[in-house]
Symmetry: C2
Subunit: 413 residues, 2 copies
């Protein structure tokens, strides 16, 4: 029964929100009119991923082999009622959390890394390439590639590469190759280093290097967030949550999650979009993309190699402060999510680093799990929500996008 | 159904193997005939724990509040079929693992920390005290105390205290207080420091300090392994495993686990003792307690404060090499486990650090989970088992006693 439950909860199809959006999604736009970004994507993405990126079908079948790997890496992830947290907050209602930290790599990132590596391998590719900032995406990519018997190369922002030695070790253990970015491996990296040999790197530079490296070598590039395909794959989170709530005889009044590029929040909430459920997306106060950003076409990388997308953005040249939640430092947010926020379907909150750290401690001391700094922002919003007298009696469900065990070093003593 | 399954799998009683042993267990013996160790235990242990330590009842009811906390911290833990590992080994049989790394604190240690803190609190105690070497036990103690609204003080072997800053951080996050041992807080610690101000500490010294501190302050001492009570509490692992196998329509031919003091292995395997299931306990080659140790009365701590127990031991003055699996460095093994090994009911293996590290890598690259160094010893035995032509077609179940995410720093680059 235990095993049957797992297989009944895992969906057989990913959900793509595009046909259910209130208006058509604005397509990607070439940054440099001389260079077709579709041509570029055609070269660096597996064909099936490119097709999924632009499809308007509501569902995509999940290949059997991907289902099998989802089961192996810890899906379905638990949906847990946080009884201890309810008690300490004196909340007269129910709090549930979807624990994406329970996957083998400790975050939701593996949900899209597995199919991306799978499609690359199916097309005969021997190596995938990507960038990583905080390290979660690089970790997921390395494992997904190895599980598909292909190699992986990960350009890791130099400052993370140096400050997070555990991330390098785990990526190596999984069989991935990491390079500090800017590196000498690409023309773009060499150009940056020529100007400043001690450059600490940025996610934008790392993306640029990964894309160039994939192009030059004929490898495929893996996308960690923002793009539609990624969000479609992440819909497994919300679909599982719906089924688990059904099995428990519960229904959600409110969904809460944190937003970096938007993949965990969108994957968690979009499968509920047609319902009455309230949705709250929490960003970092230090990266106020929703309150201070504009809804406009903007670059997704700093170098301008990838196409522009229409989204909430602080500008691709926005320099985020070095908050502990590395995954929330991105300047923009996924187009579909941005559209639903602009339309008012999804509300937003912003949480400071201080409040997030406090929430991390409260959650650790009540539920025992050390949440990722990013997820702790969502928890801070949950705590505020539960303290509001108007919300007593409600059922709130939040996405714990990952655990913070590999981020403990950045917590102040 | 999902939730119901959880509650159906978690047992309502702990299993105590004492009445099912082939001969009565030799009782603890005073080390110093002038000092009654029962008197000591009476002072430092909660009454209910002391009663459980010497009971010959087969079952102990688990209090409802402890059941609720077990559910909150991630019990029942998953029993997973390791399809990827089977495939890479070319094993024509089935491999399952019980994932104790999926608890909130990342190992099986929380299974006994929770009831010990619960009984202490029920008896009006405000603080519990213990020692920790590798750090898993200290982490579990800190969380268990906080969940029971009491304080905790943890004497951490100085060398670990300095080499494992993440452990300190997580214990602090859980609300525990850690001190490097030897410390200035106890007479014993001060004596050691007077002789050698730079003493790196040992688990024996840390135990001695914790017991002295508890005695002086009137606090209660928490026991991490070796003692019967601990093993009875850990029976939740094996009982859940039995039920999960039943639900899946499977049955185990062989159980494999690693042995430090013996609590994870005993808790996992003892509930199967009446069946025909083969059982293999894996120790570290560098701490060859089963092949080179004697079955005799010996001290469980180095200072000789606690009573002597009859067990396999390399001698309480054995100086273990600094292998990466800190939890396997203990000189002895739990009395009931030792007896069943001497009687031949349980077989033993020894695995080198090198083989264990290799197994850790294989498991990480197939199942995605980074196993604890200790658990990696069990995995090495599983791999050998599955490569043996005689074992094809069999079903082997092993206990993954914890994850290794907080131990990555000690893995060589």
């Amino acid at each position: 029964m235990y095993k049957i439950a797992d297989e009944e909860i895992i969906p057989r199809r990913w959900y793509n929100i595009v046909p259910d959006l209130p208006e058509p999604l604005s397509p990607p736009r070439d940054h440099d009119p001389e260079k077709s970004s579709i041509d570029l994507l055609n070269k660096i993405l597996p064909k099936e991923i490119l097709r999924q990126e632009f499809t308007s079908s509501r569902y995509e079948d999940i290949p059997d082999e991907v289902i099998e790997q989802y089961l192996q890496i810890g899906r379905p992830t638990p949906l847990v009622r946080a009884v201890n947290l309810e008690r300490i907050l004196g909340f007269r209602g129910k709090i549930f959390f979807k624990n994406e930290g329970a996957t083998a790599t400790g975050s939701h990132k593996i949900n899209t890394a597995l199919p991306q590596a799978y499609y690359a391998r199916k097309e005969g590719v021997e190596e995938v390439v990507t960038e990583t900032g905080a390290g979660q995406w690089g970790t997921a990519t390395a494992l997904a590639a190895t599980l598909n018997n292909i190699r992986s190369t990960i350009f890791m922002v130099r400052v993370s590469y140096e400050q997070k030695p555990l991330r390098k070790k785990i990526i190596k253990l999984y069989g991935g190759n990491t390079y500090a970015s800017p590196s000498n491996l690409t023309e773009y990296g060499r150009k940056v280093l020529a100007k400043d040999p001690g450059h600490p790197g940025t996610l934008g530079i790392a993306i640029s290097e990964a894309v160039q490296y994939a192009l030059e070598k004929g490898y495929k590039y893996m996308m960690g967030s923002v793009e539609n395909t990624v969000i479609t794959h992440q819909s497994i989170i919300g679909q599982e949550t719906r089924r688990q709530l059904e099995f428990m005889g519960e229904s959600a009044d409110t969904l809460i999650g944190c937003v970096g590029g938007g993949s965990n929040f969108s994957g968690f909430s979009f499968p509920f979009v047609e319902s009455e459920t309230e949705m709250i997306a929490t960003a970092a106060s230090e990266v106020p993309k929703f309150s201070k950003g504009d809804y406009k076409y903007d670059l997704i990388d700093t170098a301008g190699i990838m196409p522009e997308l229409k989204m909430f953005s602080l500008g691709s040249d926005f320099v985020p402060p070095s908050i502990y939640a590395g995954g929330l430092r991105y300047h923009g947010a996924a187009p579909a999510l941005s559209l639903l926020i602009r339309e008012g379907r999804i509300k937003t909150e912003e949480v400071t680093e201080e409040k997030s750290m406090e929430a991390m401690g409260i959650f650790a001391r009540t539920q025992g799990i050390v949440p990722a700094p990013e997820s702790s922002h969502a928890i801070a919003t949950v705590i505020d929500y539960c303290k509001n007298p108007e919300n007593q009696g409600k059922t709130v469900v939040f996405n714990l996008s990952g655990h913070g065990l590999l981020d403990l070093s950045i917590i102040r003593d």
